[in-house]
């Protein structure tokens, strides 16, 4: 379970977030500049909140009170970036193995077979290709495999379908839903597409200037 209570002063508004999410898909829906991606950055440790607390399964990742701020590499949070951010100088295999070579995940190597994971995503035959040789849908599958191979406790997805055509988008929505059922971890998905939100979201919050339409962003949802 993810618990987060954060404030972050941005130049044009203050982000005020309170989340309590079990193994569900939380959708953050809103226009550009509403603070959706900033929330993901704060959770992943790529930005520092002004104050608050982030906790996953009783492990504190950030606490302004205890002056604790776990670095992004030690948080074990998967992050799927918009346009997927695959390493262009590496093959698909090297991209997916990348996380396993880091100190924090070396012990996971035996437990997880990245190539098998790629096969389960239907891109196992592309292991020796570079990202420049992949289609949008293939890139997304590889990026998902790369994010999941290190067994994250939370998966953040930033506009995962925005670069795809309609058909690929629909088919990948189904895959993400299936993936969530299989992995049973909280997913937080940022989108500005209401169809994505309706199809995938267990909980959907519409954001505007760092707040939900009803006040501060306050989501308490447990199975």
């Amino acid at each position: 379970m993810l618990e987060a209570s954060l404030t972050k002063k941005l130049w044009h508004f203050t982000l005020d977030v309170h989340l309590k999410v079990d193994n569900q898909i939380l959708i953050l829906l809103g226009p550009s500049g509403s603070g959706k991606t900033t929330i993901l950055h704060l959770l992943a440790g790529l930005s520092k909140p002004n104050e608050g607390l982030i906790k996953i399964n009783d492990r504190i990742l950030y606490s302004s009170g205890k002056k604790l701020n776990i670095s992004p590499q030690s948080r074990n949070i998967g992050y799927l970036f918009q346009d997927y951010a695959l390493f262009p100088h590496m093959t698909v295999r090297q991209n997916v193995f990348y996380g396993l070579k880091s100190k924090s995940h070396k012990q996971d190597r035996a437990a997880m077979d990245p190539v098998e994971l790629l096969h389960s995503f239907g891109v196992g035959h592309l292991v020796d290709r570079h990202p420049g040789q992949l289609s949008g849908g293939e890139k997304q599958r590889v990026a998902l495999a790369r994010a999941l191979v290190v067994r994250p406790q939370l998966l953040l997805l930033d506009e995962p379908f925005s670069a795809l055509d309609r058909n690929t988008r629909i088919s990948l929505r189904h895959e993400v839903k299936k993936l969530h059922k299989h992995w049973q971890i909280p997913f937080i998905l940022v989108t500005h597409d209401e169809e994505d939100a309706q199809f995938l979201g267990d909980i959907t919050v519409s954001l505007e200037k760092g707040r939900s339409m009803d006040g501060s962003l306050n989501v308490v949802s447990c199975n």
Binding site: A44, L46, Q73, N76, A85, S102, R146
Partner: protein, 264 residues
Amino acid sequence: MVNPRIGFFQGIFWLVFILITIFMVVMVGGLLFYGEWAAFLSVIQNPEFHFAVVFTLWTSLLATALAAVVAVPCGFILSRYHFRGKALIDALMDIPIVLPPLVSGLALLILFGPVLGNTLARLSLDVVFSARGVVVAQWFIATPFAIKTFKQAFDAIDPRLENVARTLGCSPTDVFLRVTMPLAKGGVLGGLTMAWARALGEFGATAMLAGITRMKTETLSVAIFLNMTIGDMQFAIATAVIMLIVALLLMSVFKVVTGTGVRL
């Protein structure tokens, strides 16, 4: 593909382009063909020439390596961080580019002479009028070129690639070595080539800081100057031809490596 129908406007551009190309070819040709072939062969067997070539090579390579050591962190900080006074510091680092090399040399001479001279002498690390001074002068002139090109190379990398690497469990050092540097490789190699080319041809700052002493601080540029002053044109021309060939080769490598020019 160039449109075969060239209008007046493009015609003027082509005329200027062709004229400057002719000018460069005639200038280089003049240097190549003015000297005598026999004299050229005798110069390249001259011990003074050998000294200048070897001395220039090791000093400029060492200066380039030192420039890289400084330029990697400086270029990265200027590319990735925003802080108060950044524009001023960036401008400060460009000083060796905009200052005449003689002025840079004078500033270095004051720093390593009256200011730090006694301390360095106690440590047996004299810089003024020594080979060490040549390396320092070359390093000082070459470093800003390396910083500029390295910064551009780091700017061209999407920071999300570094962020995603962090979320995959990698430390900042690991991310820099396995993601940032491999992606910046082309720009870094191009920057090193530019820095080396600059160090190779350095004269003004070297002359001020290390002096112009035959067979002691005699780089190829210094050798040309020394032999011109005593009227040995053949030695000067032979040395200049060698430097010209090296410069052409270096620039071609730079353009191919960085993809900024027409491929060979």
